[in-house]
């Protein structure tokens, strides 16, 4: 920052507000000078992405923006979105959510970057190709020039999208949830990539739900909740000493700050399930070999590793859904027939959307004849109330549905539960509530849990034992 000799205002929003279609974003003002970075932090539904869209002029139909914008020295009325279109690519670069979907599935990586060089920056075709291949090589994608988006990993696609969006040298970069769906190492790579812009004298506006991203980017942070600014300040101050109750709750939901779970006392007991020297191949590729693990009643075992390393396959083997290519699985003799259960990553995908929760509970009761009385206390523990049950899975929140899934599974008194990233689609506060409940109940019911996660900090906090799978 000290190397900057001149401070110029690149992006200024004055009383920028959004309304319409049941959405209200209260007026917000901020200034981004050259070399500065600003992060909008908030949970799903806080309206943070709409602010990016209002600046770009891409709000969905039915929503309109008010207030004034000053972009690279020019003033714009926020209510006239079309006026910013001429800035796209040249002054304003938008790094989209889910880069996989933002790249043309039928065009090679190099061509997608080269076309910005050619049509936006005005280079000749050979010069544009050369610039694209140089830029992609610099980002470590020399091997991927001729690949189609479907052949790229999420992290690679994000780098291609970054190169394509910033090829015309726009000084202002807006990144909308740039780390969504990436695991921790990939996430840190993207953060580093984003930091290039302010380091070269540009301005960076990042929108994220990930506190770690905000922390690593530094600069100024604004915490949003339901369209309102809750708190703002420099990252190192705000993220370490939040003043408002909501900010404290949000930051407290970071796994490293969670209270310790009740301690595990059953280490002397015999394992409920143990795997010995497992080897697994999928599609001609060996996922892992010589994998041995055992889980005791009430123990929480964490499983971490990059995507595609076979975490879910390990679960299928332990659940008895598929067989390993080699090795064996031993199950405790007391294991009932349906004693092995699973929690799913995406709660709505684990339910048929057509039936009410009451109907699903009745089905389960009719099938297993457990006592009706067992339901109410467990529901209370899980924070589920009676009126909720009359709705269908799509009509309640992801957190509520995941707690209902836990209820359904626990009614069968399982001995082993494979939880496949059960909270990765939930907001941080909900994630903490759901996981701490799961741990508590597992300890009480002496149910062994295998918890898959992409967040090493979370696993370290919650689990008694960690299994790391290599890629």
């Amino acid at each position: 920052m000290t190397s900057m000799t001149l401070t110029t205002t690149l992006l200024q929003a004055s009383d920028l507000a959004i309304s319409g279609d049941g959405v209200t974003i209260a007026p917000i003002s901020f200034t981004l000078e050259a070399g500065q970075r600003l992060t909008l932090l908030g949970e799903t539904g806080s309206g943070k992405s709409l602010i990016a869209q209002a600046i770009m002029g891409t709000l969905p139909a039915g929503l309109s923006a008010q207030g004034a914008l000053e972009i690279a020295g020019k003033r714009f009325a926020a209510a006239e979105p079309a006026t910013r279109h001429s800035l796209w690519g040249r002054t304003l670069a938008l790094l989209p959510q889910e880069p996989w979907h933002a790249l043309d599935p039928t065009m090679r990586a190099q061509a997608q970057v080269a076309e910005t060089h050619r049509f936006v920056a005005g280079k000749t075709a050979p010069a544009a190709n050369e610039a694209a291949s140089a830029e992609l090589s610099r980002l470590g994608l020399a091997q991927a020039l001729n690949k189609l988006p479907g052949e790229l990993s999420g992290g690679m696609a994000q780098r291609v999208a970054f190169a394509a969006a910033s090829a015309a040298g726009a000084p202002i970069v807006i990144a909308d949830e740039p780390t969504k769906g990436l695991d921790a190492p990939r996430r840190d790579e993207v953060v580093e990539l984003l930091a290039h812009t302010p380091n070269r004298g540009g301005a960076l506006l990042t929108i994220t739900h990930d506190i770690e991203v905000a922390r690593r980017l530094g600069g100024e942070v604004i915490i949003l909740r339901q369209g309102q600014v809750v708190e703002r300040g420099p990252a190192n101050v705000l993220l370490n000493h939040p003043e408002t109750a909501y900010a404290q709750r949000l930051l407290g939901a970071e796994p490293s700050r969670w209270p310790d779970p009740p301690s595990f006392t059953g280490s002397a007991q015999a394992p409920v399930i143990s795997a010995d020297a497992l080897r697994i191949e999928r599609g001609g590729r060996e996922l892992f070999r010589d994998l041995s693990v055992s889980v005791r009643p009430g123990e929480i075992v964490g499983v971490v590793g990059p995507s595609g390393c076979g975490k879910s396959t390990l679960g299928d083997i332990l659940l008895g859904v598929t067989r390993p290519n080699a090795g064996r699985v031993d199950i405790s003799r007391e294991m009932p027939r349906l004693g092995r259960q699973k929690l799913y990553q995406d709660p709505p995908a684990a339910f048929s959307p057509h039936w009410s929760l009451t109907q699903l509970l009745e089905d389960l009761q009719r099938r297993h004849r457990f006592e009706q009385r067992a339901i109410a206390p467990l529901m209370q523990r899980l924070g589920l109330n009676e009126p909720l049950l009359s709705r269908r899975p799509g009509e309640i929140s992801g957190g509520e549905l995941q707690r209902f899934a836990i209820l359904r599974v626990l009614l069968l008194k399982p001995r082993f539960l494979f939880a496949d990233e059960p909270t990765s689609r939930l907001d941080p506060v909900t994630q903490q509530q759901t996981l701490s409940l799961l741990v508590e109940l597992a300890r009480e019911q002496a149910c062994a849990v295998m918890l898959v996660s992409h967040d090493p900090a979370l696993v370290e906090k919650v689990c008694d034992q960690t299994l790391t799978l290599a890629g």
């Binding site: 979907h101 933002a102 076309e115 049509f119 090829a167």
Partner: protein, 319 residues
């Protein structure tokens, strides 16, 4: 990569070749069953049709009987029937007495010219209209073309043809109603077929384009700085045309069926017309020949669609 790509294409061609074999077998078997269900005096009646009632005698009937292998036991006749088919020996027409192959070679040319003109015409009308409508879903053009497509889809090809004849030939007198000759004769039958094809392809193109214009990559191509025109030509057109071309394969079913009806309506001397005539006259060798050629044409057109999709969509080359 290259060997894998070729493997994809050769697999594709192989399965189409298999389909061609299946078509030949199905047509052969069904027409064989047909010969066996002909009533007893069929040979006599057919001979009467061929040589005239006065000329017919036992010998002529016998010749017909031999031609259709009506005198042999079932299985050996069936094997012989398929063997002839395999050698492309389709026999002689029972009506005209000329070799079926010779008849077909004339008719095929007529049918092909009609089909090609109809497909080209439909491609000029349908997809451009659909793409334009899909760029603004819910707009005026979208609604108007939707109503037009719904009306056309509810009218069978022969009704569309009849309406066109009434309008352009009978009422306005601009074009000939039926027959075969110059360009003027081609307009109405080709337009009849083309309208039916375009009614569907315009909606497929519209849906494909609407999907593309709502996609994240289309939005990104805009925010990257490309103009609306550049985005459309570089990202919209190819992605939208993949489903349109793939759907052409389904549409060729309609084309083949349409050819039968439209040729009959306009007395167009093509294969479809010949097939209907052969069925009415129970001219078994001609039924077999025309059905076979139409079936194989269908396979050929689908192969062309496969190859186009393959060239258009690089994902298929990698898969």
């Amino acid at each position: 990569m290259i060997s894998r790509a070729n493997q994809g294409l050769s697999h594709l061609l192989l399965s189409r070749l298999f389909q061609a074999g299946l078509v030949a077998w199905l047509v052969g078997t069904l027409t064989f069953v047909l010969t066996r269900t002909l009533p007893g005096d069929m040979a006599y009646r057919i001979a009467a049709g061929r040589y005239g009632h006065d000329m017919v005698d036992g010998a002529a009937a016998e010749a017909v009987r031999a031609e259709l292998a009506l005198d042999q036991p079932g299985l050996s006749a069936y094997v012989g029937w398929l063997w002839d088919l395999l050698q492309l020996d389709l026999g002689r027409s029972l009506v005209s007495g000329r070799p079926v192959i010779q008849e077909l070679s004339h008719q095929l040319g007529h049918s092909l010219s009609l089909a090609v003109i109809a497909v080209l015409l439909s491609l000029l009308i349908g997809p451009p209209l659909g793409l334009a409508a899909g760029r603004k879903p819910g707009g005026v053009l979208d609604r108007v073309s939707e109503v037009a497509a719904s009306v056309l889809r509810a009218l069978p090809a022969f009704a569309v043809g009849l309406l066109l004849i009434m309008l352009f030939a009978v009422t306005l007198g601009w074009l000939p109603a039926a027959g075969h000759g110059g360009t003027a004769h081609t307009v109405l039958p080709a337009l009849t077929l083309a309208l039916g094809l375009a009614a569907v392809s315009s909606r497929v193109a519209r849906n494909a384009m609407a999907e593309v214009s709502h996609s994240a990559y289309y939005a990104f191509s805009h925010t990257k700085g490309l103009s609306a025109r550049q985005s459309f030509w570089r990202h919209g057109l190819r992605n939208a045309s993949v489903p349109v071309v793939a759907y052409l394969g389904v549409q060729f079913v309609y084309l083949i069926e349409g050819v039968v009806v439209v040729e009959t309506l306009f007395a167009w001397p093509g294969i479809g017309h010949a097939l209907v005539h052969a069925i009415v006259a129970r001219d078994v060798p001609m039924i077999q020949g025309t059905a076979l050629v139409m079936g194989l044409l269908f396979v050929l057109l689908n192969t062309a669609v496969d190859i186009t999709c393959y060239l258009l969509d690089p994902r298929r080359r990698r898969a």
